[in-house]
Symmetry: C2
Subunit: 455 residues, 2 copies
């Protein structure tokens, strides 16, 4: 029945949705790879997305929403009535619930929370109060905890009784808490295998387990998981109460997302991810904000050229080289930016390392500046048969490459220590400064040698 | 004794290393965060790195090497004699061993393998044959496997006897294999808790477990782990023999690394990560390869300007606007590149979606082109009091923005379908084409309106 046309699965999905065949839709969706699913959903119109999520069981619908990128997931859920959405959201893992509701419009999110069962809603509200990049915002609340006095037998009984629910936890540890819910130990489930049923868990547990504060930053978490092979760590609040468990994969995912976002931002996509399924005007407006800032900076840089119109008129060949100098300095500088961004995200670099970075970059800038300067200088000389033109153009590019590489390496550190986002601002600052300086160098040198250049 | 000066830990580490205090070094290193450690090691000279790795137990040394970025890890191990290195490499997880030896120079790697115990060396050789981004190259070989006929009691006995070794496995499943080592089932360790000791594991196991081929690509693996909440999956070879276990975190890490590398490549850092601890000439040469290609493309683009020297001499104001048009078209186009790269890496986009992408991008390009064109056109008009200058410059930018955004969105798809790396080549191709087209548009329009423009 389901003729799986691999190139356009959304067309088949649409027909299935219109036919109202719940089982057909369910098995079709299960057969799709995650990427295919995201791709198909992004092609459905609002009404079909709504049909998809309401036709399926809430659990299956939650499985779909969970696979979509955050923004797309939020847009899908927003097509539903709050009551319908609440049923689906309740089936999602706790950490994902909070992420999703963060993306949904405030009023809509409140309405969904009101329609959820009160204890789940409270949990989501509690998680939503954390920033999305601290331990509290990344942890899940699906974990096993037992009191210190519990016996091996009672734990095994509980595991057996709730095995269906726990099967989604993917855990191998249980956490042992005291009466004030403070974390006192961790129990390896496999140790239950080897112990007499009447032992108390407090005798079996490993005391004083490693824990992280719910406000621990992503960088601290990366350091912790880099240094240890933990699969997950318990998260405690300021009173040392156990509030969640943070899995390694959540940290890895958040780090990957941060580096993705840094890449997007460095290219001028500034409001988190953009998907082509988003409305045209939203996409256009978001991109334009960055572009208008950039064009302003471009005017500033180009104003240097305007100051030298006289020189340019006499040595029109310079107009050919100005865009090259601007572009090449940008390239050289952005290489240094990329290395600094990478070293910052690895934690190898701290803002106070600025002089070390500069001393390393200036040498690369010198070598590459000389190489590029010789190349462009020779080209200019050969083209116009004037060695002075080569000297001016080559010298300017050489010097400006050194400047660009020095700036490119250090600007991200300066921005980080000013608590600004280096991914966002490094590029425009770099290119504006190097453009201005490059134009100034070229044109003032040309003015100096004007007698030799003007033919 | 260890006065922990937080800003320059490598100085204290160096003195400790020179004093030869094994326990001092060990506790100092353990107190450092992973990021601090990487930073400190990158400041040590070769001789001190060698001291650090030989002074500590191989197990502790392996813990350090494991935390370093791949290239730095390889450089550290290369400071050692092959016999010393072999002791350390043997203590690392299997997947990391192969990664490390891939980075080490061929002769040195062979010498280390010869010095390792033969069975470990064979395992590493087997793993090294896989590409680093397929299931076989990402999996580990630390897993539990038992024959179908094993009893619950014998499995528990084995777990108990090898608990120290297994404690590093972080597993909650054991894999059940037949006599030909083919994967036939998976056993949840917790089910051992609930079963009589004489049951056979073949009765307890879940039959026909999900598995992946050792040649499965990173994209396929991402789709699998996106669609299911598996913590890990067994990996089988072409004869369905169990060859390893792939953990979710290994896939997440590889995806994060790929997107990091894409970011670096898009900025011209093309040979994998560059760390500032690498030798100056290596860094300079690697960056220069990309820059020389770029300067060639820049010459090509600028040659368009050279064709219009006559027009430029008469309307010198155009020289101010050419770099702006070049830079702004690059910015607009790179935004579209970034969105396509992101959608490709999410799996939302397939190369055959090119027309859909184009139809979505051309509209954004139109809107933003009109906005930017009006901005620059008005500025040009006001500056020189000549509406025709505004018309030429604004019109050229508007049209070129549409071209740049259309190209930026589609070039990554075209490169992907040609099996070329879109992260690497999209930028230079985009900027060269948009520069040429932008210069051509501006200067040919200016030639057409020359009578109105020349004052």
């Amino acid at each position: 029945m389901t003729t799986l046309e691999p190139s356009k699965p959304w067309e088949d999905l649409s027909s299935l949705l219109e036919s109202g065949s719940r089982s057909g839709v369910k098995s079709f969706v299960e057969d799709l790879h995650a990427g295919e699913l995201v791709r198909a959903v992004s092609r459905l119109d609002e009404e079909h997305v709504r049909l998809l999520l309401t036709l399926l069981d809430p659990e299956d619908a939650a499985g779909i929403v969970d696979q979509l990128p955050d923004q797309q997931a939020a847009a899908s859920v927003e097509t539903l009535e709050p009551e319908e959405a609440a049923l689906i959201v309740q089936e999602m893992p706790s950490a994902e619930q909070a992420d999703l509701l963060r993306e949904i419009e405030e009023d809509e999110a409140q309405a969904i929370l009101l329609a959820m069962d009160p204890s789940s809603a409270d949990e989501v509200r509690r998680l939503s109060r954390y920033a999305s990049d601290v331990a509290g915002g990344l942890m899940g609340t699906e974990f096993l905890s037992y009191s210190r006095e519990a016996s091996v037998e009672s734990v095994i009984k509980d595991l057996r009784a709730n095995s269906h629910r726990y099967s989604e936890y993917v855990v191998q540890y249980a956490y042992i808490i005291d009466k004030q819910k403070r974390l006192t130990g961790v129990l390896r489930l496999r140790d239950l295998l080897l112990s007499p049923p009447t032992r108390r868990v407090k005798e079996l547990m490993l005391p004083k387990p490693v824990r992280v504060s719910d406000e621990a930053s992503l960088d601290e978490l990366r350091d912790l998981f880099d240094a240890h092979s933990y699969f997950g760590v318990p998260v405690t609040d300021s009173s040392d109460r156990l509030v969640g468990v943070l899995k390694r994969e959540a940290v890895e995912e958040a780090l990957a997302e941060r580096s993705d976002n840094d890449y997007l931002k460095s290219q001028g996509i500034v409001h988190g991810e953009e998907l082509r399924s988003m409305p045209l005007f939203t996409r256009s407006r978001r991109r334009l904000m960055w572009l208008s800032l950039n064009i302003g900076l471009n005017f500033l840089a180009a104003s240097v050229i305007a100051l030298y119109e006289e020189t340019l008129t006499q040595v029109i060949a310079l107009a050919v080289f100005l865009p090259i100098i601007s572009d090449m300095s940008g390239c050289s500088g952005n290489q240094a930016v990329a290395v600094s961004m990478r070293e910052l995200s690895l934690g190898v670099l701290r803002p106070q390392d600025i002089w070390r970075v500069w001393s390393k970059e200036v040498l690369v800038g010198f070598l590459n500046g000389v190489a590029l300067g010789l190349l462009i200088g020779t080209a200019a000389w050969l083209w116009k048969g004037n060695p002075y033109l080569g000297l001016v153009v080559g010298g300017a590019l050489a010097l400006n490459t050194m400047v660009a590489v020095s700036l490119g390496g250090t600007i991200p550190l300066i921005l980080r220590s000013l608590k600004m986002d280096p991914a966002l601002a490094s590029g425009p600052i770099l290119t504006t400064v190097t453009d201005m300086f490059g134009f100034l160098l070229t044109l003032s040198a040309a003015s100096f040698f004007l007698a030799k250049l003007a033919s």
